[in-house]
Protein backbone atom coordinates (compact mmCIF):
# COMPACT_ATOMS: atom_id res chain seq x y z
CA UNK A 1 0.00 0.00 0.00
CA UNK A 2 1.37 3.39 -0.94
CA UNK A 3 0.21 6.62 0.63
CA UNK A 4 0.11 10.13 -0.63
CA UNK A 5 -0.93 13.32 1.09
CA UNK A 6 -3.59 15.80 0.17
CA UNK A 7 -4.15 19.09 1.88
CA UNK A 8 -7.51 20.29 3.24
CA UNK A 9 -6.87 23.76 4.68
CA UNK A 10 -4.52 23.09 7.64
CA UNK A 11 -4.95 19.30 7.67
CA UNK A 12 -2.76 16.79 5.84
CA UNK A 13 -4.95 13.88 4.79
CA UNK A 14 -3.61 10.39 4.10
CA UNK A 15 -4.83 8.96 0.80
CA UNK A 16 -3.91 5.29 0.49
CA UNK A 17 -3.65 3.40 -2.78
CA UNK A 18 -5.02 -0.10 -2.15
CA UNK A 19 -4.94 -1.22 -5.76
CA UNK A 20 -3.10 0.37 -8.67
CA UNK A 21 -4.92 1.11 -11.88
CA UNK A 22 -5.18 3.63 -14.65
CA UNK A 23 -8.87 4.26 -14.92
CA UNK A 24 -12.17 4.28 -13.06
CA UNK A 25 -10.87 4.94 -9.59
CA UNK A 26 -12.87 3.78 -6.58
CA UNK A 27 -12.63 5.84 -3.39
CA UNK A 28 -13.39 4.16 -0.04
CA UNK A 29 -14.64 6.30 2.86
CA UNK A 30 -14.35 4.59 6.23
CA UNK A 31 -16.76 4.66 9.17
CA UNK A 32 -16.53 6.63 12.41
CA UNK A 33 -13.42 5.66 14.37
CA UNK A 34 -12.13 3.48 11.54
CA UNK A 35 -9.33 4.05 9.10
CA UNK A 36 -8.58 2.88 5.57
CA UNK A 37 -8.11 -0.91 5.66
CA UNK A 38 -4.51 -2.06 5.26
CA UNK A 39 -5.33 -4.16 2.22
CA UNK A 40 -8.02 -4.30 -0.41
CA UNK A 41 -11.26 -5.46 1.24
CA UNK A 42 -12.96 -8.51 -0.29
CA UNK A 43 -16.09 -6.58 -1.25
CA UNK A 44 -14.02 -4.32 -3.51
CA UNK A 45 -11.77 -7.02 -4.97
CA UNK A 46 -13.69 -7.16 -8.25
CA UNK A 47 -13.09 -3.47 -9.00
CA UNK A 48 -11.19 -3.20 -12.30
CA UNK A 49 -9.43 0.12 -11.67
CA UNK A 50 -7.49 1.88 -8.96
CA UNK A 51 -8.82 1.67 -5.41
CA UNK A 52 -8.07 4.49 -2.97
CA UNK A 53 -8.94 4.91 0.69
CA UNK A 54 -9.06 8.26 2.48
CA UNK A 55 -8.39 8.68 6.19
CA UNK A 56 -10.72 11.43 7.42
CA UNK A 57 -9.45 14.31 9.56
CA UNK A 58 -8.49 13.02 13.00
CA UNK A 59 -8.45 9.40 11.81
CA UNK A 60 -5.80 6.90 10.68
CA UNK A 61 -2.65 8.58 9.39
CA UNK A 62 -4.28 11.98 8.82
CA UNK A 63 -3.55 14.96 11.06
CA UNK A 64 -5.36 15.34 14.38
CA UNK A 65 -6.38 19.00 14.85
CA UNK A 66 -6.42 20.72 18.24
CA UNK A 67 -9.67 21.51 19.98
CA UNK A 68 -12.17 19.62 17.80
CA UNK A 69 -14.87 21.29 15.71
CA UNK A 70 -15.86 18.34 13.51
CA UNK A 71 -18.87 18.36 11.22
CA UNK A 72 -19.81 16.03 8.39
CA UNK A 73 -19.64 19.05 6.07
CA UNK A 74 -15.94 19.37 6.93
CA UNK A 75 -15.46 15.68 6.11
CA UNK A 76 -17.24 16.33 2.81
CA UNK A 77 -14.41 18.82 2.22
CA UNK A 78 -11.92 16.02 3.02
CA UNK A 79 -13.53 13.87 0.33
CA UNK A 80 -13.49 16.81 -2.08
CA UNK A 81 -9.74 17.27 -1.56
CA UNK A 82 -9.22 13.56 -2.31
CA UNK A 83 -11.34 13.70 -5.48
CA UNK A 84 -9.45 16.80 -6.60
CA UNK A 85 -6.31 14.66 -6.38
CA UNK A 86 -7.46 11.39 -7.98
CA UNK A 87 -10.12 12.74 -10.35
CA UNK A 88 -13.73 11.61 -10.85
CA UNK A 89 -14.34 8.39 -8.92
CA UNK A 90 -16.96 5.98 -7.70
CA UNK A 91 -17.33 6.51 -3.95
CA UNK A 92 -18.13 3.70 -1.51
CA UNK A 93 -18.84 4.85 2.04
CA UNK A 94 -19.31 2.89 5.25
CA UNK A 95 -21.38 4.31 8.11
CA UNK A 96 -20.21 7.88 8.69
CA UNK A 97 -18.49 7.58 5.29
CA UNK A 98 -21.84 6.68 3.69
CA UNK A 99 -23.33 9.96 4.88
CA UNK A 100 -20.26 11.86 3.67
CA UNK A 101 -20.52 10.00 0.33
CA UNK A 102 -24.09 11.26 -0.06
CA UNK A 103 -23.01 14.83 0.76
CA UNK A 104 -20.08 14.90 -1.67
CA UNK A 105 -22.11 13.20 -4.42
CA UNK A 106 -24.72 15.94 -4.03
CA UNK A 107 -22.17 18.74 -3.89
CA UNK A 108 -19.83 17.53 -6.69
CA UNK A 109 -22.13 15.53 -8.99
CA UNK A 110 -19.58 15.68 -11.83
CA UNK A 111 -16.79 14.24 -9.66
CA UNK A 112 -18.70 11.28 -8.20
CA UNK A 113 -19.27 8.45 -10.67
CA UNK A 114 -21.79 6.64 -8.54
CA UNK A 115 -22.08 6.65 -4.74
CA UNK A 116 -22.70 3.52 -2.67
CA UNK A 117 -23.98 3.94 0.87
CA UNK A 118 -23.31 0.94 3.10
CA UNK A 119 -23.48 -0.10 6.74
CA UNK A 120 -20.73 0.85 9.17
CA UNK A 121 -19.91 2.73 12.37
CA UNK A 122 -21.44 6.17 12.72
CA UNK A 123 -24.27 5.52 10.26
CA UNK A 124 -27.00 7.05 12.42
CA UNK A 125 -25.17 10.14 13.67
CA UNK A 126 -26.95 12.20 16.31
CA UNK A 127 -30.47 11.61 15.05
CA UNK A 128 -32.88 13.85 13.17
CA UNK A 129 -32.84 16.90 15.44
CA UNK A 130 -30.74 18.41 18.21
CA UNK A 131 -30.49 16.71 21.56
CA UNK A 132 -29.58 18.36 24.83
CA UNK A 133 -26.18 19.99 24.70
CA UNK A 134 -23.26 18.34 26.43
CA UNK A 135 -19.80 19.85 26.65
CA UNK A 136 -16.77 17.66 27.08
CA UNK A 137 -13.09 18.29 27.36
CA UNK A 138 -10.36 16.01 26.17
CA UNK A 139 -7.00 15.52 27.80
CA UNK A 140 -4.62 16.70 25.08
CA UNK A 141 -1.77 14.55 26.34
CA UNK A 142 -0.92 11.84 23.87
CA UNK A 143 -4.03 11.91 21.73
CA UNK A 144 -3.72 9.29 19.00
CA UNK A 145 -6.20 8.76 16.18
CA UNK A 146 -9.08 8.46 16.16
CA UNK A 147 -9.42 11.88 17.78
CA UNK A 148 -11.81 11.61 20.80
CA UNK A 149 -13.36 14.91 19.68
CA UNK A 150 -14.15 13.28 16.30
CA UNK A 151 -15.77 10.28 17.98
CA UNK A 152 -17.85 12.55 20.21
CA UNK A 153 -18.86 15.26 17.76
CA UNK A 154 -19.49 13.07 14.73
CA UNK A 155 -21.64 10.65 16.73
CA UNK A 156 -23.84 13.63 17.70
CA UNK A 157 -23.91 15.19 14.22
CA UNK A 158 -27.56 15.96 13.43
CA UNK A 159 -28.88 14.41 10.22
CA UNK A 160 -32.41 15.57 9.37
CA UNK A 161 -34.17 13.34 6.80
CA UNK A 162 -35.13 16.29 4.57
CA UNK A 163 -31.51 17.50 4.51
CA UNK A 164 -30.35 14.05 3.32
CA UNK A 165 -33.22 13.89 0.81
CA UNK A 166 -32.13 17.27 -0.59
CA UNK A 167 -28.63 15.94 -1.27
CA UNK A 168 -30.09 12.79 -2.85
CA UNK A 169 -32.17 14.98 -5.19
CA UNK A 170 -29.07 17.01 -6.08
CA UNK A 171 -27.31 13.76 -7.07
CA UNK A 172 -30.27 12.44 -9.06
CA UNK A 173 -30.84 15.75 -10.86
CA UNK A 174 -27.26 16.74 -11.65
CA UNK A 175 -25.18 13.56 -12.03
CA UNK A 176 -24.50 12.07 -15.46
CA UNK A 177 -25.04 8.40 -14.63
CA UNK A 178 -28.58 7.05 -14.96
CA UNK A 179 -28.46 5.53 -11.45
CA UNK A 180 -25.90 7.61 -9.55
CA UNK A 181 -26.96 6.64 -6.03
CA UNK A 182 -27.12 3.14 -4.53
CA UNK A 183 -28.10 2.22 -0.98
CA UNK A 184 -26.56 -1.07 0.14
CA UNK A 185 -26.97 -0.55 3.88
CA UNK A 186 -29.34 -3.05 5.46
CA UNK A 187 -29.99 -0.79 8.42
CA UNK A 188 -31.67 2.49 7.48
CA UNK A 189 -31.61 5.30 10.05
CA UNK A 190 -34.10 8.09 9.22
CA UNK A 191 -31.71 10.13 7.05
CA UNK A 192 -30.85 7.09 4.97
CA UNK A 193 -34.47 5.95 4.69
CA UNK A 194 -35.32 9.41 3.36
CA UNK A 195 -32.49 9.34 0.81
CA UNK A 196 -33.32 5.77 -0.22
CA UNK A 197 -36.97 6.75 -0.77
CA UNK A 198 -36.17 9.32 -3.44
CA UNK A 199 -37.36 8.02 -6.83
CA UNK A 200 -34.34 6.82 -8.81
CA UNK A 201 -32.20 5.67 -5.88
CA UNK A 202 -31.17 2.04 -6.37
CA UNK A 203 -31.34 -0.61 -3.67
CA UNK A 204 -28.60 -3.17 -4.33
CA UNK A 205 -25.71 -5.05 -2.74
CA UNK A 206 -22.23 -3.54 -2.70
CA UNK A 207 -21.04 -6.15 -5.23
CA UNK A 208 -23.88 -5.44 -7.68
CA UNK A 209 -23.47 -1.69 -7.33
CA UNK A 210 -19.71 -1.90 -7.96
CA UNK A 211 -20.35 -4.09 -11.02
CA UNK A 212 -22.80 -1.53 -12.37
CA UNK A 213 -20.52 1.44 -11.79
CA UNK A 214 -17.49 -0.40 -13.18
CA UNK A 215 -19.35 -0.73 -16.50
CA UNK A 216 -20.86 2.74 -16.50
Amino acid sequence: MTTRWVRHLRINLALHELQAGDERPLLLLHGLGERTPSKLPAYASSWPGAVWGLDFTGHGDSDVPSGGGYTCEVLMGDADAALRDIGPATVLGRGLGAYVALLIAGARPQMVRGAILSDGPGLAGGGTGPSSTMLIGVDEGGVVPPDPFALFELSRDVRPPDYAATFARQVLTLAELPTPLTVSARWRPPWLEAAASEPGVVDASIEDALATYARA
Binding site: T57, S66, G67, R84, A107, T133, Y163, Q170, T173
Partner: protein, 305 residues
Protein backbone atom coordinates in the same frame (compact mmCIF):
# COMPACT_ATOMS: atom_id res chain seq x y z
CA UNK B 1 6.96 43.48 9.99
CA UNK B 2 3.84 44.00 12.04
CA UNK B 3 3.16 47.35 13.64
CA UNK B 4 0.87 47.16 16.63
CA UNK B 5 1.02 50.58 18.29
CA UNK B 6 -1.23 52.45 15.90
CA UNK B 7 -4.57 52.10 17.64
CA UNK B 8 -6.82 55.08 16.99
CA UNK B 9 -9.02 56.51 19.71
CA UNK B 10 -12.80 56.77 19.80
CA UNK B 11 -14.92 58.72 22.27
CA UNK B 12 -15.89 56.46 25.16
CA UNK B 13 -13.86 53.48 23.93
CA UNK B 14 -11.30 52.04 26.32
CA UNK B 15 -8.88 49.23 25.58
CA UNK B 16 -8.73 46.38 28.11
CA UNK B 17 -6.77 46.73 31.34
CA UNK B 18 -5.32 43.21 31.05
CA UNK B 19 -4.74 40.55 28.42
CA UNK B 20 -4.11 36.85 28.88
CA UNK B 21 -3.99 33.64 26.90
CA UNK B 22 -6.36 30.72 27.49
CA UNK B 23 -5.58 27.20 26.29
CA UNK B 24 -8.82 25.75 24.89
CA UNK B 25 -7.82 22.12 24.27
CA UNK B 26 -4.80 23.20 22.25
CA UNK B 27 -6.33 26.28 20.61
CA UNK B 28 -4.90 29.52 22.02
CA UNK B 29 -7.62 32.02 22.89
CA UNK B 30 -6.84 35.73 23.45
CA UNK B 31 -8.79 36.96 26.48
CA UNK B 32 -9.18 40.56 27.65
CA UNK B 33 -10.26 42.09 30.93
CA UNK B 34 -11.52 45.45 32.10
CA UNK B 35 -11.95 46.46 35.73
CA UNK B 36 -10.73 45.32 39.11
CA UNK B 37 -9.32 41.79 39.18
CA UNK B 38 -11.07 41.18 42.52
CA UNK B 39 -14.48 42.39 41.30
CA UNK B 40 -17.17 39.82 40.41
CA UNK B 41 -16.67 38.58 36.83
CA UNK B 42 -19.05 39.02 33.90
CA UNK B 43 -18.48 37.38 30.51
CA UNK B 44 -19.01 39.08 27.11
CA UNK B 45 -19.09 37.05 23.87
CA UNK B 46 -18.78 38.81 20.47
CA UNK B 47 -20.50 37.95 17.20
CA UNK B 48 -19.29 36.25 14.00
CA UNK B 49 -16.45 37.91 12.06
CA UNK B 50 -16.08 40.31 14.98
CA UNK B 51 -13.72 40.93 17.89
CA UNK B 52 -13.70 41.35 21.66
CA UNK B 53 -12.90 44.99 20.86
CA UNK B 54 -16.52 45.53 19.83
CA UNK B 55 -17.06 45.71 23.60
CA UNK B 56 -14.63 48.63 24.02
CA UNK B 57 -17.61 50.93 24.64
CA UNK B 58 -19.78 48.62 26.78
CA UNK B 59 -17.10 46.90 28.89
CA UNK B 60 -15.68 50.07 30.52
CA UNK B 61 -19.20 51.08 31.62
CA UNK B 62 -19.68 47.70 33.32
CA UNK B 63 -16.16 47.78 34.77
CA UNK B 64 -16.74 51.25 36.22
CA UNK B 65 -19.94 49.90 37.82
CA UNK B 66 -17.87 47.37 39.78
CA UNK B 67 -17.47 44.37 37.49
CA UNK B 68 -14.47 42.41 36.23
CA UNK B 69 -15.38 42.20 32.56
CA UNK B 70 -13.93 39.27 30.59
CA UNK B 71 -14.16 39.01 26.80
CA UNK B 72 -12.21 36.98 24.25
CA UNK B 73 -11.56 36.69 20.53
CA UNK B 74 -13.21 33.52 19.20
CA UNK B 75 -11.01 30.95 17.44
CA UNK B 76 -10.00 32.28 14.01
CA UNK B 77 -10.78 35.85 15.10
CA UNK B 78 -8.48 38.65 16.25
CA UNK B 79 -5.47 37.49 18.27
CA UNK B 80 -6.73 33.95 18.96
CA UNK B 81 -5.26 31.00 17.08
CA UNK B 82 -6.52 30.09 13.65
CA UNK B 83 -7.88 26.57 14.10
CA UNK B 84 -8.01 23.63 11.70
CA UNK B 85 -11.74 23.21 12.32
CA UNK B 86 -14.59 25.55 13.16
CA UNK B 87 -17.98 24.66 14.54
CA UNK B 88 -20.67 26.09 16.77
CA UNK B 89 -20.00 23.42 19.42
CA UNK B 90 -16.26 24.14 19.35
CA UNK B 91 -16.98 27.85 19.93
CA UNK B 92 -19.15 26.98 22.95
CA UNK B 93 -16.40 24.72 24.29
CA UNK B 94 -13.82 27.50 23.85
CA UNK B 95 -16.13 29.83 25.79
CA UNK B 96 -16.25 27.30 28.62
CA UNK B 97 -12.43 27.21 28.65
CA UNK B 98 -12.42 31.01 29.11
CA UNK B 99 -15.04 30.71 31.86
CA UNK B 100 -13.06 27.91 33.57
CA UNK B 101 -9.94 30.11 33.48
CA UNK B 102 -11.87 32.94 35.15
CA UNK B 103 -13.96 31.33 37.88
CA UNK B 104 -15.82 28.17 38.83
CA UNK B 105 -18.66 30.17 40.35
CA UNK B 106 -21.78 31.05 38.33
CA UNK B 107 -21.42 34.37 36.48
CA UNK B 108 -23.57 36.69 34.34
CA UNK B 109 -23.01 36.09 30.63
CA UNK B 110 -23.70 38.47 27.73
CA UNK B 111 -23.60 37.58 24.05
CA UNK B 112 -24.05 39.65 20.89
CA UNK B 113 -25.46 38.20 17.65
CA UNK B 114 -23.87 34.76 17.08
CA UNK B 115 -22.33 35.18 20.55
CA UNK B 116 -25.85 35.44 21.95
CA UNK B 117 -26.73 32.09 20.38
CA UNK B 118 -23.52 30.52 21.65
CA UNK B 119 -24.17 31.74 25.18
CA UNK B 120 -27.74 30.39 25.09
CA UNK B 121 -26.25 27.00 24.36
CA UNK B 122 -23.66 27.39 27.12
CA UNK B 123 -26.46 28.31 29.54
CA UNK B 124 -28.50 25.28 28.50
CA UNK B 125 -25.54 22.91 28.86
CA UNK B 126 -24.17 24.46 32.06
CA UNK B 127 -27.02 26.16 33.92
CA UNK B 128 -24.96 25.87 37.12
CA UNK B 129 -22.29 28.15 35.63
CA UNK B 130 -24.49 30.97 34.27
CA UNK B 131 -26.22 33.19 36.85
CA UNK B 132 -27.81 35.68 34.40
CA UNK B 133 -28.03 35.70 30.61
CA UNK B 134 -28.28 38.72 28.30
CA UNK B 135 -28.77 38.34 24.57
CA UNK B 136 -27.93 41.40 22.42
CA UNK B 137 -29.64 41.15 19.03
CA UNK B 138 -28.88 37.45 18.81
CA UNK B 139 -32.36 35.99 19.23
CA UNK B 140 -33.18 33.54 16.48
CA UNK B 141 -36.39 33.34 14.51
CA UNK B 142 -38.07 30.68 12.42
CA UNK B 143 -37.32 32.10 9.01
CA UNK B 144 -39.09 30.28 6.23
CA UNK B 145 -37.15 29.73 3.03
CA UNK B 146 -38.52 31.76 0.12
CA UNK B 147 -41.04 29.99 -2.04
CA UNK B 148 -39.09 29.05 -5.15
CA UNK B 149 -39.47 26.26 -7.69
CA UNK B 150 -37.68 22.97 -7.05
CA UNK B 151 -35.44 23.12 -10.13
CA UNK B 152 -34.37 26.63 -9.15
CA UNK B 153 -33.68 25.48 -5.60
CA UNK B 154 -31.49 22.66 -6.94
CA UNK B 155 -29.50 25.11 -9.05
CA UNK B 156 -29.01 27.57 -6.18
CA UNK B 157 -27.95 24.85 -3.74
CA UNK B 158 -25.53 23.37 -6.30
CA UNK B 159 -23.86 26.78 -6.60
CA UNK B 160 -23.73 27.26 -2.82
CA UNK B 161 -22.14 23.85 -2.33
CA UNK B 162 -19.59 24.34 -5.12
CA UNK B 163 -18.69 27.80 -3.84
CA UNK B 164 -18.21 26.45 -0.31
CA UNK B 165 -15.96 23.59 -1.44
CA UNK B 166 -14.04 25.80 -3.90
CA UNK B 167 -13.44 28.31 -1.12
CA UNK B 168 -11.88 25.56 1.02
CA UNK B 169 -9.67 24.33 -1.81
CA UNK B 170 -8.55 27.91 -2.53
CA UNK B 171 -8.02 28.99 1.06
CA UNK B 172 -5.10 26.68 1.91
CA UNK B 173 -2.57 29.42 1.21
CA UNK B 174 -4.96 32.37 1.12
CA UNK B 175 -4.38 35.68 2.82
CA UNK B 176 -6.85 38.47 3.38
CA UNK B 177 -6.70 41.36 0.93
CA UNK B 178 -4.57 44.24 2.24
CA UNK B 179 -5.73 47.84 2.26
CA UNK B 180 -5.51 51.16 4.03
CA UNK B 181 -7.37 51.78 7.28
CA UNK B 182 -9.97 53.71 5.28
CA UNK B 183 -10.37 50.92 2.73
CA UNK B 184 -10.94 48.27 5.39
CA UNK B 185 -13.39 50.58 7.18
CA UNK B 186 -15.16 51.11 3.86
CA UNK B 187 -15.45 47.35 3.26
CA UNK B 188 -16.90 46.80 6.72
CA UNK B 189 -19.29 49.74 6.29
CA UNK B 190 -21.04 47.77 3.55
CA UNK B 191 -21.98 45.13 6.14
CA UNK B 192 -22.37 47.59 9.05
CA UNK B 193 -23.91 50.64 7.39
CA UNK B 194 -25.22 52.15 10.62
CA UNK B 195 -21.83 52.34 12.37
CA UNK B 196 -19.86 55.58 12.07
CA UNK B 197 -16.76 55.66 9.92
CA UNK B 198 -14.74 56.79 12.95
CA UNK B 199 -15.82 53.68 14.87
CA UNK B 200 -15.03 51.40 11.94
CA UNK B 201 -11.57 52.98 11.52
CA UNK B 202 -10.99 52.43 15.25
CA UNK B 203 -11.97 48.76 14.93
CA UNK B 204 -9.64 48.35 11.92
CA UNK B 205 -6.66 49.40 14.03
CA UNK B 206 -7.48 46.63 16.53
CA UNK B 207 -9.10 43.93 14.40
CA UNK B 208 -6.55 44.20 11.60
CA UNK B 209 -2.78 43.96 11.55
CA UNK B 210 -0.47 46.31 9.71
CA UNK B 211 1.75 44.37 7.30
CA UNK B 212 4.28 45.98 4.96
CA UNK B 213 1.75 45.97 2.12
CA UNK B 214 -1.20 47.25 4.15
CA UNK B 215 -3.76 46.34 6.82
CA UNK B 216 -5.40 42.90 6.88
CA UNK B 217 -8.36 41.80 9.02
CA UNK B 218 -7.27 39.27 11.63
CA UNK B 219 -9.92 36.77 10.55
CA UNK B 220 -8.97 33.31 9.33
CA UNK B 221 -9.43 33.39 5.53
CA UNK B 222 -10.84 29.86 5.66
CA UNK B 223 -13.89 31.09 7.61
CA UNK B 224 -16.87 32.12 5.60
CA UNK B 225 -20.18 33.82 6.28
CA UNK B 226 -23.37 31.87 5.87
CA UNK B 227 -22.93 28.54 4.19
CA UNK B 228 -25.25 25.63 4.58
CA UNK B 229 -25.81 22.64 6.80
CA UNK B 230 -28.53 20.84 8.67
CA UNK B 231 -28.93 23.54 11.34
CA UNK B 232 -32.31 25.36 11.58
CA UNK B 233 -32.66 28.67 13.43
CA UNK B 234 -35.63 27.33 15.36
CA UNK B 235 -33.31 24.80 17.01
CA UNK B 236 -31.74 27.72 18.86
CA UNK B 237 -35.17 29.07 19.65
CA UNK B 238 -36.17 25.82 21.32
CA UNK B 239 -33.44 26.29 23.96
CA UNK B 240 -34.91 29.61 25.02
CA UNK B 241 -38.09 28.78 27.01
CA UNK B 242 -36.33 26.31 29.29
CA UNK B 243 -33.63 28.66 30.59
CA UNK B 244 -33.93 29.15 34.33
CA UNK B 245 -31.60 32.09 35.04
CA UNK B 246 -32.81 35.72 34.81
CA UNK B 247 -32.86 36.59 31.13
CA UNK B 248 -32.61 39.84 29.16
CA UNK B 249 -33.27 39.94 25.43
CA UNK B 250 -32.42 43.14 23.54
CA UNK B 251 -33.49 43.48 19.93
CA UNK B 252 -32.50 46.26 17.50
CA UNK B 253 -35.55 47.01 15.40
CA UNK B 254 -33.71 48.50 12.40
CA UNK B 255 -33.14 45.68 9.89
CA UNK B 256 -29.51 45.03 8.92
CA UNK B 257 -27.86 42.45 6.70
CA UNK B 258 -25.59 41.31 9.55
CA UNK B 259 -28.57 40.78 11.84
CA UNK B 260 -30.86 37.78 11.93
CA UNK B 261 -33.98 39.63 10.81
CA UNK B 262 -35.76 38.59 13.98
CA UNK B 263 -38.95 40.48 14.83
CA UNK B 264 -40.41 40.78 18.35
CA UNK B 265 -43.38 38.58 17.44
CA UNK B 266 -40.95 35.80 16.45
CA UNK B 267 -39.59 35.44 19.98
CA UNK B 268 -42.05 36.72 22.58
CA UNK B 269 -43.82 33.38 22.72
CA UNK B 270 -40.58 31.57 23.52
CA UNK B 271 -39.07 33.78 26.23
CA UNK B 272 -38.16 32.11 29.55
CA UNK B 273 -40.47 32.74 32.49
CA UNK B 274 -39.88 36.20 33.93
CA UNK B 275 -37.67 37.30 31.05
CA UNK B 276 -37.21 40.96 30.22
CA UNK B 277 -37.49 41.74 26.52
CA UNK B 278 -36.46 45.17 25.21
CA UNK B 279 -36.92 46.07 21.54
CA UNK B 280 -34.90 49.22 20.76
CA UNK B 281 -36.44 51.66 18.27
CA UNK B 282 -34.10 53.34 15.80
CA UNK B 283 -31.27 50.96 16.66
CA UNK B 284 -29.57 48.40 14.43
CA UNK B 285 -27.77 45.13 15.00
CA UNK B 286 -24.92 46.56 17.10
CA UNK B 287 -27.07 47.71 20.00
CA UNK B 288 -24.08 47.94 22.32
CA UNK B 289 -22.16 50.21 19.95
CA UNK B 290 -25.09 52.41 18.97
CA UNK B 291 -26.45 52.67 22.54
CA UNK B 292 -23.72 51.61 25.01
CA UNK B 293 -25.18 53.44 28.02
CA UNK B 294 -28.70 52.09 27.46
CA UNK B 295 -27.43 48.53 27.07
CA UNK B 296 -25.05 48.80 30.04
CA UNK B 297 -27.91 50.00 32.25
CA UNK B 298 -30.14 47.14 31.09
CA UNK B 299 -27.40 44.63 31.93
CA UNK B 300 -26.76 46.23 35.32
CA UNK B 301 -30.50 46.06 36.08
CA UNK B 302 -30.49 42.38 35.08
CA UNK B 303 -27.60 41.45 37.36
CA UNK B 304 -29.04 43.50 40.24
CA UNK B 305 -32.28 41.51 40.03
Amino acid sequence: MTVTDEVLTYPGARRPDRRRRVDAHGVGIAAYEWGDLDAPPILLCHGGMDFAATFDLLAPLLADAGWRVVAWDQRGHGDSDYAALYSWDADVRDALAVLDSTTRAPVPVVGHSKGGGLMMQLAEAMPHRVSHLANLDGLPSKRLPPDIANHERTRLLAKDLEDWLDHRLRSTEAQRRPGTVDELAERRARMNPRLSRDWLRYIVTIGARHDDDGWRWKLDPSMRFGGFGPWRPEWSLMRLPGLSMPFLGVLGLEYEEMGWGTKPEDVVGYLPLGARFVPLEGTGHFVHIEQPEVVANLILELVAA
